[in-house]
């Protein structure tokens, strides 16, 4: 017996040695394979190069993106990431300065009259191939954006220009657009109606210039790659490896190049995972990273430079005001508005740092005549009052002729914050009003489809600004606005929107916004939830990074590196 065991042990030992040999061979084989792969990878060079977050010698700052821009054709761009890149590599007639005030861009001088505007372009504005930026480039860009065949989703932002809507809907030819290049350096624009905020509109992405000859040489792929785009901004894109990296170098032809301190903005990583970005920041690979509620304590512990930022968007519950919906009943809407508290939502439920409790459709950062709009026209949203809420609910039941309000359909997105938010409101309305709320969770595209067709009672919605004027929020609930998905219609609100659109007197316009704000509260059109914010950390050596609610965010155009700090 012992003999057999010892021979078994001997076999095991020999076989084990053989196995160990195989292990070593495997490791060697894998190492050799990886070496071959590394050569192959360096030949195709499709990827990131590992570098420090901040390189003072070369003037390079490395950052990460959450997603990459879908493409960089300014006439088609709709998203924030495209806005960020285009804000660095392009420049419009006008732009925003460090204090978010309108500043000269390609136009050195401009005059905005009641029904028209004239822009005088600077002589030294250049494209990245050295040619002059002319008035024709703007006219071409605007016509391209309005071309019905191109079906640009943001064409509507050009509608204040004379005939723009008719051109966009194919009723008039492209050259009927009310914008002309008088000569290379003079651009005139006619308006559809008197327009007080055209200076802010022309700072928007869709208004950026496009040069015709270059555009037509890209074979329908304008903006799809780094070499398929011509630049006139402080930076120019020198490489774009899709999904992996994007590099912006200082543009030597930019007229204001002396003000640009950084040589290179290197987008070295693209990942939607916030923890991955924070890990990159920890490892000194990127210069800026957002923080989530969970990793805020560790950031505090590490004594990083933590900043707060309200990103400009407001979020709210929108009611469906269509005929066949119970939410058309004012008392029901009032009851629900009075039965909840946005401060509780923000501070006790979502608990995401940087968020502000919602009180109005108009966010706190919008400017009024001299001071912030919300200071000049405070939003007197009623406080949570359960007794009053229940009285409104009883009235609603009587008006609707029911003993119990039928279950309400609450349409939401399928992201984590929407889940928390919708479940919170479901519980609140049940507890405080005895209302049954059914959550209808949908993916982005289906939520939009249902919002448009009106297949909801309540929907979690949000709105972000396009230009720095309260009208970017103010006309949302106008009866003709396609984004008014609950189909709220109120002639008095429409009248105020028209005043705000066409009046040239700041005080009259702000009064109108004040009125709109009050109507939205009195009519309980929406339940304001919060103003979205964020908390982020930056590398101590990077200075002058701007966060913007409008335009390129994050803005590195004025940033510099200071290793002394």
């Amino acid at each position: 017996m012992s003999d057999i065991t010892s021979s078994e042990d001997g076999f095991t030992r020999t076989a084990g040695r053989q196995l160990a040999l195989f292990f070593l061979m495997a490791i060697g084989g894998v190492a050799a394979l990886m070496w071959v792969l590394s050569i192959a990878a360096s030949l195709t060079s499709s990827g990131t190069t590992t570098s420090q977050a901040v390189d003072a010698e070369t003037g390079t700052v490395t950052i990460a993106f959450t997603t990459e821009p879908p493409q960089l054709d300014s006439t088609l761009a709709t998203d924030m990431q495209s806005g960020m890149v285009l804000g660095h590599v392009m420049e419009g007639l006008l732009t925003y300065d460090a204090n978010n005030e309108i500043a000269p861009g390609v136009a050195e001088r401009w005059e905005i009259g009641e029904n028209d505007a004239t822009f005088w372009l600077r002589e030294d504005a250049r494209w990245s191939d050295g040619e002059t930026v002319t008035a024709h480039d703007f006219v071409f860009a605007w016509r391209t954006a309005l071309d019905p065949k191109r079906a640009s989703e943001y064409a509507f932002i050009l509608y204040p220009i004379k005939n723009a809507e008719a051109v966009n809907t194919g009723k008039l030819p492209l050259d009927a657009l009310g914008a002309q290049a008088v000569d290379d350096r003079t651009l005139t624009v006619q308006f559809e109606r008197p327009l007080a905020y055209f200076d802010k509109l022309v700072a928007f992405t869709t208004y950026l210039p496009v040069r015709q000859d270059f555009f037509e040489n890209t074979d329908g792929k304008y903006g799809a790659d780094a070499d398929k785009l011509l630049y006139n901004g402080p930076f120019m894109m020198t490489s774009w490896v899709h999904g992996a990296s994007l590099r912006m170098d200082k543009n030597p032809h930019y007229w204001n190049r002396d003000k640009v301190k950084l040589n290179t903005i290197n987008v070295g990583y693209i990942t939607p995972d916030p923890n991955a970005r924070l890990n990159l920041f920890k490892d000194n690979n990127i210069a800026l990273s957002g923080l989530t509620a969970e990793n805020l304590p560790s950031a505090l512990e590490n004594r990083w430079q933590i900043h707060r930022f309200v990103d400009g968007s407001v979020f709210f519950i929108e009611f469906n005001h269509r005929e066949d919906r119970v939410t058309r009943n004012l008392n029901l809407r009032k009851a629900m508005l009075l039965a909840q508290d946005s401060a509780e939502l923000v501070y006790k439920v979502t608990k995401i740092p940087g968020y502000l409790p919602g009180a109005s459709l108009f966010p706190t950062w919008l400017m009024g005549v001299d001071k912030p709009l919300r200071e000049e026209y405070p939003a007197n949203l009623p406080r949570m009052d359960l007794e009053l809420a229940r009285r409104h609910l009883d009235l609603a039941k009587r008006e609707l002729g029911v003993d119990q309000i039928p279950p309400l359909t609450f349409l939401t997105g399928d992201n984590p914050i929407s889940n928390i938010q919708s479940e919170y409101f479901q519980a609140v309305f049940k507890k405080n009003l005895g209302l049954d709320v059914k959550i209808d969770k949908q993916i982005f595209k289906q939520r939009l489809a249902k919002m448009t067709s009106g297949d909801f009672d309540l929907v979690l919605a949000g709105w972000g600004p396009d230009y720095n004027d309260p009208l970017t929020f103010g006309d949302l609930f106008a009866s003709w606005n396609l984004n008014n998905r609950g189909r709220y219609a109120n002639p008095e609100l429409d009248r105020q929107v028209r005043i705000a659109q066409s009046s040239l007197d700041p005080k009259t316009r702000m009064d109108a916004f004040g009125q709109i704000q009050q109507i939205l509260i009195d009519d309980a059109v929406i339940i304001p939830n919060y103003e979205r914010g964020s908390v982020y950390v930056t590398h101590p050596h990077v200075k002058g990074v701007l966060r913007r609610v409008i335009g390129a965010d994050v803005d590195y155009t004025r940033a510099w590196i200071d290793t002394g700090a």
């Binding site: 990886m34 493409q71 191109r150 064409a155 799809a224 899709h242 923890n275 890990n279 690979n285 939009l448």
Partner: protein
């Protein structure tokens, strides 16, 4: 052999056609509007958008056009990345996913075979118990946990050493590939270890092993030629689907390690109802899977001469 290969290839083409057709009709019946976006657009622009992507035609005609383009290998232009061809997306990003996937499979296969053999050799002893415990972990813990932990470990390692030994994320050099591919291959490695162990145990007690020992064959020869070679067959069987699964299933790992692979496009396309990218990636991955299964069947015949390809 050649007739067999041809037969399998024809079957493969039919399978891919079926995948393409099923995906096409399933996709068009998924609720949601592929052209909807944050900002509502007017009827006119909507109509122009539909015309641009051919969505204004009847579904049968769309299918016919789609199939015609598919035969020519043209998947069309992405809905979300409006100026980019789906072919370019696959061409640029699949090699990255494939590199990552193949490395992961190599790790998984080598690790699985070696650990499996080791556990069988030392069954019910300490190495067996430890490895089998780790195997249970590897099978039950999802890859995003390992990805997150792996990355955190890298950050802490670099922090501890005061310099970047291995990059935390990104792509381009071998040092970028090492940890993500290990993480990606971990689940499969655990599964293969178990498979190899049970297969090996079966072989060890087989009659021909006893005969070999009785004949006095050297231990190394018995172990490598008779035990390992026979035990490895089931592992090869599952390797084909595993290669396809790993190569296509790296989405989470790609996301965490900021790797520009195809997985990200695959998943985002479904979320965004980007019809052309959904079709392109699904058909491509489907064809890839079918191809891998055929390849494995052919390789099987090479490894085991007893298998006749008929």
């Amino acid at each position: 052999m050649w007739r067999y290969t041809l037969k399998r290839l024809i079957q493969g083409v039919i399978t891919v056609w079926f995948i393409a057709t099923a995906t096409f009709f399933a996709m068009h019946n998924v609720p949601g509007d592929p052209l909807a976006n944050d900002k509502a657009v007017t009827e006119e622009i909507r109509a122009n958008l539909e015309a641009k992507y051919g969505l204004d035609r009847p579904i049968g005609e769309q299918y016919a056009i789609y199939m015609k383009n598919l035969v020519r290998g043209d998947f069309g232009i992405s809905f979300t990345q409006q100026n980019r061809e789906v072919n370019d997306i696959i061409k640029e990003h699949f090699p990255i996913s494939a590199t990552l996937g193949i490395l992961a499979v190599i790790f998984a296969a080598l690790g699985g075979v070696l650990w499996g053999a080791l556990t069988a050799l030392y069954r019910n002893k300490l190495p067996d118990i430890i490895i089998m415990f780790l195997v249970i972990l590897g099978i039950s813990v999802p890859s995003f946990v390992f990805a997150g932990l792996g990355q955190l470990a890298l950050v802490n390692l670099n922090d501890l050493l005061g310099q970047s030994i291995l990059p935390v994320a990104g792509w381009g050099t071998v040092s970028h590939m090492l940890v993500p591919s290990l993480v990606l291959g971990l689940g499969t490695m655990a599964y293969l270890t178990r498979l190899m162990r049970s297969s090996m145990l079966e072989v060890i007690s087989a009659d021909y092993i006893r005969t070999a020992k009785a004949k006095g064959l050297p231990a190394t020869r018995i172990f490598t030629r008779h035990q390992l070679r026979n035990a490895i067959l089931p592992v090869i069987t599952v390797l084909g689907p595993a290669i396809a699964a790993i190569t296509t299933g790296g989405f989470v790992v790609e996301m965490v390690f900021a790797i520009p692979g195809l997985g990200r496009y695959f998943v985002q396309a479904v979320q965004q109802l980007d019809y052309t990218v959904i079709m392109g990636t699904t058909v491509f991955y489907g064809a890839f899977l079918v191809f891998m299964v055929i390849v494995v069947d052919l390789v099987y015949g090479l490894v085991d001469p007893r298998v006749r390809l008929e």
